[in-house]
């Protein structure tokens, strides 16, 4: 055990900190609005130009080949500097790991650099009106078009985050109509400007147009739009949904920064006499530290070749419920001002999505019980 950062790590941290503190934009509007999105995209390009967009990727795709520990350090510094949520995150954190594992060389060469530069903006197309927590209930279809050498996609995707601002969509489609549930699905990559695609943005809880419905009506895509094998979509999607998702989608840096902001708020408005809120602030600090060190423990295990797996369900529950508690504590500190449409109230509403998306926490608790503890499914 050595919990000191190596000289290399410490130097990497110092570099990141210096650059981020000099460059992180302040006061950006929400990236889930049309105006805000454009400004966020500028920031993404600035990150890319400084090779901070995708630090853990190989250099050939725009990264620095940073280690997992370095990536965690970058994330800590990114949020510490007040960096905004990444509008490119669904591509970088959900699609890219899958491309690395299952993409052809041609796919990697085409998709990854464009994603890193923000040329292509990827939206996820998992959910459908009838398939939320139950992803295997997907109805959207892919029909083989031998003549044209590709596939014709039809159906409806929904709850597509920032779908109205993105250029591409990745998602599962039912390519074998005779197969049931999670069989017979294929993972497709779809340009949103293709003929037959209609995107309708709609508002989420906080009123921002952060969601979209995507309607696909006989949309043609060529064979190279398939990621991984035909009819292998479920295993392709799931292979990178575990550890990677838990780790990369919500790095500890975000919650360390949120806990820091909460401490600042406590100092500025906290009534020293109210020990209940004081205790809640301390709990938030401890929880964020616990999440940080659990991540270091997990990453060490990964780096040493241990498999982790279903533990990502614990991670998802922990960060999402911690995030709600941090924001609820802040609203308590604000007292009557909590009702105002300020950053903590906005953040609270955003936090409330955490226990719902990427598999509800109810589903995640089932996964922990069944796969980590070994309880019977039925």
């Amino acid at each position: 055990m050595d919990l000191n950062f190596t000289d290399t790590e410490a130097q990497f941290r110092a570099e990141c900190r210096e650059w981020l503190q000099a460059n992180v934009p302040t006061g950006l509007p929400s990236g889930d609005t049309h105006e805000g999105f454009a400004l966020h995209l500028e920031w993404e390009r600035t990150l890319f130009d400084a090779r901070y967009a995708v630090v853990s990727w190989p250099e050939q795709y725009g990264g620095r080949g940073a280690t997992a520990m370095e990536w965690l350090i970058f994330e800590e510094e990114y949020y510490r500097a007040g960096g905004p949520q990444r509008v490119t995150q669904n591509g970088i954190f959900l699609l890219a790991p899958t491309v690395f594992d299952f993409g052809t060389d041609a796919q990697k060469d085409h998709i990854l650099p464009r994603m890193a530069r923000g040329d292509d903006l990827w939206a996820q197309g998992w959910s459908e009106p009838g398939a939320g927590s139950d992803l295997a209930g997907i109805q959207s279809k892919a029909v083989r078009d031998e003549t044209a050498g590709g596939w014709r996609l039809s159906g409806q995707k929904t709850w597509t985050t920032r779908g109205a601002f993105c250029t591409h969509l990745f998602g599962l489609f039912r390519s074998d109509p005779t197969a049931e549930r999670h069989r017979g699905l294929t993972y497709f990559l779809v340009p949103l400007d293709a003929d037959g695609v209609t995107v309708r943005g709609f508002g989420r809880l906080d009123g921002d147009e952060g969601f979209a419905e995507v309607f696909l009506d006989d949309v043609f895509v060529a064979d190279d739009a398939v990621l991984g094998g035909v009819d292998q979509g479920w295993s392709v999607a799931m292979a990178t949904a575990g550890v990677e998702r838990g780790l990369t989608l919500r790095s500890p840096g975000r919650f360390l920064a949120a806990a820091d902001r909460l401490v600042d708020l406590y100092r500025s408005v906290g009534d020293a006499a109210d020990d209940r809120l004081r205790d809640d602030v301390v709990k938030a600090v401890i929880d964020a530290e616990a999440y940080r060190w659990q991540t270091f423990l997990t990453v060490t295990r990964m780096l040493e070749g241990e498999s982790t797996g279903s533990e990502s369900s614990m991670t998802k529950i922990f960060w999402s419920e911690m995030d709600v508690r941090i924001h609820a504590t802040a609203l308590g500190l604000l007292g009557p001002d909590a009702e105002l449409d300020g950053p903590w109230m906005k953040g609270y509403q955003f936090a409330l999505s955490g226990p719902i998306y990427a598999g509800t926490n109810e589903i995640q608790r089932n996964v922990i019980a069944e796969r980590v503890l070994g309880l019977p499914r039925k």
């Binding site: 139950d134 709609f202 709600v324 009702e339």
Partner: protein, 319 residues
């Protein structure tokens, strides 16, 4: 000991319930978010029915009723998420105004805020009651400046209010009583909006299927909603009992109000979290109605004293 409302009180409640079902469906609440705000149809119908002036004496065109008669009506206003200053007008202002006739008739709309940094419908009301130097003061349109401020529930139309002219309409005792009526009425509205979130969610989870069955058949969803139902069940009696205590001048009425408001705030906040979670992504959509009620619940839970504030007041009395 008989803990039940009279037939008259229940009939009045039913009439208001029907009125609001017709005049204030979710589309009206949604319109108040987006357009000019408020629900003029419902408001004038309530005036006509005598609800807005119910607490004014008959000599001023009122019905001479007490908070005990109004508490069930406030609950219905909560159920509808009525985008009007119902409690502030009918329960806070009317009983303290020296001449409540115009307010009782609904010719003028009053709002109020005591010990709070902003006023619901502050820019829309004709009269604003505020606390100033341990007294209730009333400032009329023309005598005050209201600056709109964005709240999480846009249909509350918050504003900060500063006045040039105001009339003292109540002393320190009247101020304390007005605050308790506001807290009680808001607690009753919270009971109502909690019921509404629960009703909406029960309907949704019976209908929505995942994994081939209604999601309401999953034990986790059942337990979320059972928890909300329990919180509602045990908050409600303390709100009704506080109404009785205020109406009959019980010396501990303020403590009873705080007990009711704290449980009603907690029940509403718990229910908003549980019902949102039971909905999954659907509840997170702006186009779906749940958020209208949820944001109102958040706003009311923090208004007229949040749950910790009221518990602290109970603590000063009982510890």
């Amino acid at each position: 000991m008989r803990f039940a409302f009279t037939e008259d009180q229940l009939a009045f409640r039913d009439a208001v319930r029907d009125l609001l079902a017709n005049e204030c469906p979710p589309a009206v609440v949604r319109a108040a978010w987006e357009g000019a705000g408020r629900a003029p149809g419902a408001w004038s119908a309530l005036a006509e029915m005598g609800v807005l002036g119910a607490m004014a004496p008959e000599s001023a065109g009122g019905l001479g009723l007490s908070v005990l008669d109004l508490v069930l009506l406030a609950e219905e206003a909560g159920y509808a998420a009525l985008p009007e200053p119902f409690v502030e007008h009918a329960m806070v202002a009317v009983p303290v105004l020296p001449d409540p006739a115009a307010a009782a008739a609904g010719e003028v709309t009053a709002t109020a805020a005591i010990g709070a940094p902003f006023v619901p419908f502050g820019a829309d009301a004709d009269l604003v009651l505020l606390d100033d130097d341990d007294a209730v003061v009333c400032t009329a349109r023309g005598g005050f400046t209201a600056r709109p401020i964005d709240g999480v529930d846009a249909s509350r139309r918050l504003a900060t209010v500063t006045f040039d002219e105001a009339e003292i309409v109540g002393d320190a005792g009247a101020l304390a009583a007005a605050f308790d009526r506001g807290a009680l009425g808001t607690a009753a509205q919270l009971i109502g909006v909690t019921r509404r979130m629960l009703d909406l969610t029960v309907d949704y989870v019976k209908d929505r299927e995942q994994f081939g069955v209604p999601i309401g058949s999953f034990q986790a969803v059942k337990h979320h909603l059972a928890d909300a139902r329990i919180a509602l069940e045990f908050a409600r009696p303390l709100v009704y009992r506080a109404a009785w205590s205020l109406a009959t001048g019980d010396p501990d009425a303020a403590v009873h109000v705080s007990m009711g408001k704290s449980l009603a705030s907690d029940a509403a906040e718990l229910t908003s979290t549980k019902t949102l979670q039971a909905h999954g992504a659907m509840g997170y959509s702006f186009e779906y109605d749940l958020h209208l009620f949820m944001k109102r619940a958040w706003a009311w839970a923090g208004s007229w004293g949040d749950a910790p504030w009221h518990r602290a007041r109970v603590g000063r009395a009982v510890l």
